[in-house]
């Protein structure tokens, strides 16, 4: 999968690149609007990560340029700006998602995956992992082709864990992912433990291998032994 990262903050860009590259992505990075327009005119990407505030212009201009060129790449805006207007404007101009800085890299990764899934497999939203099969649209999970009883939250958690395979996920990152818009108000992340425990038990009872590893003192990790 090919990604274009348009971000003027070098340190942040490096971290994003670093994190995504480990998950079967090829990530190209540009730090200004001019170079970005150059790239998108020449190459095709699966997903574009766009910062709105660039040294030589506004990220919205790039969105307009994409539209002008009839490009269908999925765009995720990553911005420190968090006004409702900029969100709405971005989405109206053709962006698919909006992530406010600061964010967890794990969150960015699952958003990219979700976007690519939506773009590429129109309607066929299946995620498979060995004996596991998740249908995102019908919200069902099968282990060895047998449906298991699972809540929406647990499916969300499962997708998040699988999406960040082999990455250590801190408790606060998981908590923020699960609580969505409420994350800004939440200061207690203890509920993560209960969710992980429930999910683990359900998978185990269905005969699924134990992929969820505990990283002591820090968080959890989805890993195939």
């Amino acid at each position: 999968m090919k990604l274009l990262l348009i971000e003027d903050e070098k340190e942040l860009a490096e971290s994003i690149k670093n994190y995504l590259t480990g998950n079967s992505f090829v990530c190209e990075w540009v730090n200004n609007a001019m170079a970005a327009i150059d790239k998108i005119s020449t190459y095709e990407y699966d997903c574009i990560l766009l910062d709105l505030m660039l040294p030589d212009g506004n990220g919205f201009e790039i969105l307009k340029e994409l539209k002008r060129q009839n490009k269908t790449e999925g765009v995720i805006i990553i911005s420190a700006k968090e006004t409702l207007e900029s969100k709405i404007e971005g989405l109206q101009l053709g962006a698919d998602d909006y992530l406010t800085k600061p964010f967890h890299l794990s969150e960015l990764l699952v958003r990219i995956q979700a976007l690519i899934r939506r773009k590429n497999f129109k309607g066929n939203n299946l995620v498979a992992y060995n004996e596991l099969e998740i249908d995102i649209l019908s919200k069902t999970v099968k282990v060895n082709s047998r449906k298991i009883d699972i809540t929406k939250k647990e499916i969300d958690l499962l997708l998040y864990l699988i999406g960040n395979e082999n990455k250590v996920l801190s408790k606060s990152a998981i908590a923020e992912h699960l609580s969505g818009d409420m994350a800004d108000m939440l200061d207690n992340h203890d509920f993560v433990y209960a969710h992980i425990k429930n999910l683990k038990n359900k998978l185990k009872d269905a005969g699924c291998s134990d992929y969820i590893k505990t990283v002591y003192g820090l968080g959890y990790k989805w890993q195939h032994d």
């Binding site: 903050e9 340190e11 942040l12 971290s15 994003i16 670093n18 994190y19 480990g22 420190a80 968090e82 006004t83 409702l84 207007e85 800085k101 600061p102 964010f103 967890h104 890299l105 794990s106 939250k153 990455k167 250590v168 801190s170 408790k171 606060s172 990152a173 923020e176 609580s179 818009d181 409420m182 994350a183 800004d184 108000m185 939440l186 200061d187 207690n188 992340h189 203890d190 509920f191 209960a194 990283v215 002591y216 003192g217 820090l218 968080g219």
Partner: protein
């Protein structure tokens, strides 16, 4: 007790007027009476002189009964042991009016045909009671006129003279520094009021400027912090992946992670406050509070599980408000999370929604909180707690924006926060 300025002055006038009238009423009475008596005495002397001049030389002893018969007020009486003019008060029974009438009488010894007699002349006086009554009535009327006059004058004064003052007062009362309704103080033809208006305008202008620059500062600071925070967050996320750590190192990383999360929340809440102040959420629509609470109930139940808190909701009647949907959600979430956060293990949270109010009651510390500081920024009842001290300030801001009232009370060991809709 405070009174209106005009009441104060009119009260002073009034007290003075009453005092003067009360003191002058008896004085007036005595002076009137003295003048009256003097006049009566003068008349009596005049009559005596007339008698001496025209009648005493011609009067014979035989005439006395006839004289007495036809003269009502001048009698010739048996001699008394008086040497000269003797004035005194006396009463005579009036058989027609059936009451005692007061009289001023002058007795004077005379000689008629060599025999001593007493000349007695009298003048009917106004009854003292009548005099006092009429004076009291007179003074009462004067007092009434004074009061009426004072009232009318004051009203006129307040309408005209003090009009600019009250106008200024009204403008300042409506002024809110966080709203853009600068008071427009009109020029008057009274120097003092003009000076007052100018000073107020200067004061308001300076404060507004300071307020705006401070608000801008908070907003800019929060914005500028976002990028380094994003880098910080990303670097920690990257560091976590970079290899095997000992459990102790993991704990350090976790604590760093929590801190950056906390900073992040703090920053976002500061930004939110700035945005509310900048009217970024002015768009309103009809919102069902029942639906809003029900929508997130599962999330709150999930949050309450760690402390085994029971949540009871009473959402009997549908309540629709006109508010900004984002802010309404934040208000409810903040109050809900607040009730969970400051709760005790196995405690409870009760949410009651009525047409008049939405109320969150929770068990917790068995002491009431300092209600006056609760809703100010960064005032935390317990400094060790994780909350960032902005939650209730945000609640207050949102309530203010919608002209709702937030109240805190502590009853039956329950902390209760109510928003009066």
């Amino acid at each position: 007790m405070t009174k209106k300025l005009l009441h104060k002055t009119s009260n002073a006038y009034l007290i003075f007027a009453v005092l003067v009238l009360v003191v002058s009423a008896p004085l007036f009475y005595f002076i009137t009476e003295k003048l009256y008596i003097d006049d009566a005495d003068e008349a009596l002397i005049l009559r005596k002189n007339e008698f001496l001049q025209f009648h005493s030389s011609t009067l014979t002893e035989k005439d006395i009964p006839i004289w007495n018969k036809f003269n009502r007020d001048i009698k010739i009486k048996e001699p008394q042991s008086i040497s000269g003019d003797t004035f005194f008060y006396t009463y005579y029974y009036d058989s027609l009016g059936q009451e005692n009438e007061p009289y001023r009488e002058l007795n004077f010894p005379i000689i008629i045909e060599g025999k001593p007699y007493t000349y007695s002349a009298r003048i009917n006086l106004v009854e003292t009671e009548d005099l006092i009554k009429s004076i009291a009535l007179l003074f009462f009327i004067i007092l009434l006129l004074l009061l009426l006059g004072l009232f009318i004058i004051n009203k006129r004064l307040s309408q005209n003279l003090w009009k600019p003052f009250y106008e200024t007062l009204r403008q300042i009362e409506q002024f809110e520094i966080d709203k853009s309704n600068q008071p427009k103080l009109t020029e008057t033809n009274i120097e003092e009021f003009n000076r007052l208006n100018q000073s107020i305008e200067k004061l308001i202008e300076r404060n507004t400027t300071i307020y705006h620059s401070q608000r801008e500062f908070i907003e800019n600071a929060a914005h500028e912090l976002q990028t380094p925070l994003a880098v910080f967050q990303a670097k920690i996320d990257t560091l976590i992946q970079s290899g095997e750590f000992t459990e102790q190192q993991n704990q350090i990383l976790s604590s760093l992670n929590d801190s950056v999360s906390r900073l992040n929340r703090l920053n976002k809440n500061l930004l939110l406050l700035s945005k509310i102040e900048n009217d970024n959420y002015s768009e309103k629509q009809s919102i069902s509070l029942n639906k809003l609470i029900e929508k997130h109930l599962e999330f709150f139940i999930e949050q309450s599980r760690a402390k085994n808190i029971s949540i009871k909701t009473e959402l009997s009647e549908p309540v629709i408000v006109n508010a900004n949907p984002v802010l309404a959600e934040i208000l409810i979430s903040n109050l809900f999370l607040n009730a969970i956060r400051h709760n005790v293990a196995n405690g409870r949270v009760e949410v009651t929604l009525t047409k008049q109010s939405i109320t969150f009651s929770n068990t917790g510390n068995n002491k009431p909180l300092a209600a006056d500081k609760l809703f100010t920024r960064f005032s935390k009842s317990n400094p060790s707690e994780q909350g960032n001290g902005l939650g209730l300030a945000i609640v207050k801001k949102i309530a203010d924006l919608n002209k709702w009232k937030v109240k805190y009370s502590f009853e039956a060991n329950l902390h209760t926060f109510s928003v009066m809709l």
